[in-house]
């Protein structure tokens, strides 16, 4: 039953039913108690009256019971229908029936001397009050049948329950109507959302929404803006990627055509050289894009961890040729116990890119230092170079995709540091950039050790 309307309706109906039922039981109980009290009072009164009448000798003992039972008292419950069952017996103290009303059973009403008692006579339950007239040596018993009492209570409660039962369907209808009306804003919101075309990510108007669903509207707007931002990012990523891939291709094609039309071997040679550089650059771009795509989707990165030191050593040895070509040497410092672990694939990607950047940025003859250390639960890999560093303006955007800093060397994809940032993000760490006081840049990878 996954409908707010049905649920609300059922809850409200059940709650109302329970309240009504409790009220009904309460009224029944209190009515019964009250009826008992009043009728008991009448019994006592009648008993006392018979006793006093026969004491005064105003009426004959034998006729006395009829007097009380046929003359209604002025009590609360004195309608004819209920009073005729009031019965009276007068017994002598030695156990002889002296007088009895017509309605009284032949058997003795009670064996108790005085006060109230409950007695079953001929299968009927009686409430009896007996009083002893000492002077005449008589015991007067006045009783009424529980049948009467029960009917009284039943009639009162029936009078209450019938209208309630008749009202219940009407109440149910009213509840259903109210629930429907109350949920109209939700339906309106759903209708507005379902009418929305897929490309419409503009925020919906929440000011007019009721307080209860306004948070949902706000949350939806938040989602819309996040999806919109992501879509924009993807869109700009696609157009950037198109530009970054097609431009080197255009360069290669143009250079190939120049080579074909070149009038001399010098022009042709230069064009062919440019083609080679262009192919290398396009290749690097494709590699970086694939690396980034696999980082983004999480493909191809196993969960296997590896010793950080061995990852760094492997990266250094991978980049030996690049370092030699640039006349740069790489030095590693190990300030760990050698047991630091991290995801091998992600860390390799990050370290390789940072180290390669540092080597390419360094002037010939310089040394790139790479230091692995620990800080509590975190592992730090710092790469220190003597290059020109990252200018203040570039620092904020340096990890943006396709962003190449001003004065960056030709041939970079603008993706290297984006890849580093994405890899570190997946490692649960960060990448920090700082300039060295005496020239150069420190790039620090900080990540929790696995």
């Amino acid at each position: 039953m996954n409908s707010i309307r049905i649920r609300l309706f059922a809850i409200l109906l059940a709650a109302t039913g329970i309240v009504w039922l409790s009220a009904f039981i309460w009224v029944q109980q209190s009515t019964r108690a009250k009826v008992e009290r009043v009728l008991d009072a009448r019994l006592a009164e009648a008993g006392q009256m018979v006793s006093s009448l026969i004491s005064d000798q105003r009426i004959d003992v034998a006729r006395a019971p009829a007097t009380v039972t046929e003359t209604p008292t002025d009590g609360e419950f004195s309608p004819v229908g209920y009073s005729h069952k009031l019965s009276c017996q007068i017994w002598s103290l030695d156990g002889i029936l002296v007088g009895s009303s017509k309605s009284a059973p032949t058997a003795q009403l009670t064996s108790d001397d005085t006060g109230f008692s409950i007695n079953a006579i001929d299968g009927e339950r009686w409430r009896v009050y007996s009083v002893v007239n000492e002077t005449l040596g008589l015991r007067i018993m006045v009783g009424d049948s529980y049948t009467v009492r029960d009917r009284l209570v039943r009639d009162v409660t029936k009078g209450l329950a019938l209208p309630a039962l008749l009202m219940f369907p009407i109440l149910a209808g009213l509840i259903l109507f109210s629930v429907r009306r109350g949920l109209v804003p939700l339906e309106q919101m759903a209708a507005a959302l379902s009418r929305r075309p897929a490309d419409n990510l503009s925020p919906m108007a929440v000011a007019s929404l009721p307080r209860e669903i306004k948070p949902m509207g706000d949350a939806l707007n938040g989602l819309f803006s996040r999806v919109d931002a992501m879509r924009d990012r993807e869109k700009s990523f696609t157009s950037f990627a198109a530009h970054e891939l097609k431009t080197p291709l255009a360069g290669i094609k143009t250079q190939a055509q120049v080579a074909a039309m070149a009038p001399d071997s010098e022009t042709r040679g230069q064009a062919l050289h440019r083609i080679q550089l262009g192919v290398e650059r396009a290749d690097r771009m494709v590699k970086q894009l694939l690396a980034l795509a696999s980082l983004d989707t999480g493909d191809g990165t196993s969960d296997g961890t590896c010793n950080v030191i061995s990852v760094v050593k492997a990266a250094i040895s991978d980049l030996t040729r690049v370092a030699t070509d640039n006349h740069v040497s790489v030095q590693m410092g190990d300030r760990t116990d050698g047991k630091t672990q991290a995801n091998a694939v992600l860390l390799t990607v990050a370290v390789r890119n940072v180290l390669e950047n540092a080597i390419i940025a360094s002037p010939p003859g310089a040394t790139v230092e790479i230091v692995v250390s620990r800080d509590g639960e975190h592992c730090l890999v710092a790469v220190l170079d003597r290059g020109p560093g990252i200018s203040g303006l570039d620092r904020a955007r340096i990890t943006d995709r396709f962003y190449r800093g001003n004065g960056a060397k030709e041939g970079g994809s603008g993706l290297g540091l984006s890849i580093v940032a994405t890899a570190l993000q997946r490692l649960g760490g960060t990448v920090d950039f700082d300039s060295r006081a005496d020239g150069g840049e420190i790039v620090t990878l900080v990540f929790p050790q696995g």
Binding site: S239, P248, A250, I252, T254, Q257, M261, A262, T267
Partner: protein, 221 residues
């Protein structure tokens, strides 16, 4: 014909530059929008080859700026973004034509010639003067049934003169058209090329106006 290339990719810009020069055009290369503004301010470009994604902004913005200053220099957009919407945006911003990367150098040259021709108000691709029928696409010409070939430099001078027949073009202006901002131009380079042209076209085709420059002789055809 001087053409401004605004392209930040070194390899592509170099290819375009060499290709244009080999086709008898005079390319000037800039890599940023700021430099492009400066170059345009100096003037003298017959057309602009414009990339869209540049390090300091978009070519579209540069183009809008240009058009808002009533500069009508023909512009050929070169871009990797060749979705229909991108083309529409580029053309709406005031581009005369649009080429998606990667392109054919021949097509770039053909389109360049076409937008320049349109800007000059000519419908015919061929240039004619005094019995000379010039085909700019082939850097060749026909005269009295004879086919004549030109070197890129010779053709650049001939083209400059043909663009405004009868007008006197100074030696320094022709040097500019030949070499652009290149340094170390030999002082007699223009004379040498004019001399070669006269050898091919006849001594009277190009007249020397002493102290002023060169012009084409009157059309007698």
């Amino acid at each position: 014909m001087r053409v401004l290339i605004v392209e930040d990719d070194e390899s592509l810009a170099d290819g375009l530059s060499v290709g244009l020069r080999l086709s008898g055009l005079t390319p000037e290369l800039v890599t940023t929008i700021a430099d492009a503004h400066e170059a345009v301010a100096q003037g003298g470009f017959a057309a602009i080859l414009l990339d869209i994604m540049l390090p300091d902004g978009t070519g579209i913005d540069f183009l809008s700026d240009l058009r808002s200053r009533a500069d009508t220099t023909p512009v050929l957009l070169l871009t990797a973004l060749d979705q229909v919407q991108d083309r529409v945006t580029g053309l709406d911003a005031g581009a005369d034509d649009y080429l998606g990367k990667p392109f054919d150098l021949d097509e770039v040259l053909a389109r360049l010639r076409a937008i320049v021709r349109r800007a000059e108000g000519r419908a015919d691709a061929a240039l004619r003067w005094n019995g000379l029928d010039v085909d700019p696409a082939r850097m060749s010409a026909r005269m009295q049934g004879q086919s004549i070939e030109f070197s890129p430099r010779e053709f650049a001078i001939l083209r400059a003169l043909l663009e405004r027949p009868g007008a006197i073009l100074s030696k320094s202006l022709l040097e500019d058209r030949l070499y652009g901002w290149q340094d170390g131009v030999e002082s007699n380079a223009v004379e040498v090329h004019v001399h070669k042209l006269r050898a091919k076209l006849g001594a009277d085709f190009i007249q020397t106006v002493r102290g002023a420059g060169y012009r084409l002789a009157k059309d007698r055809s």
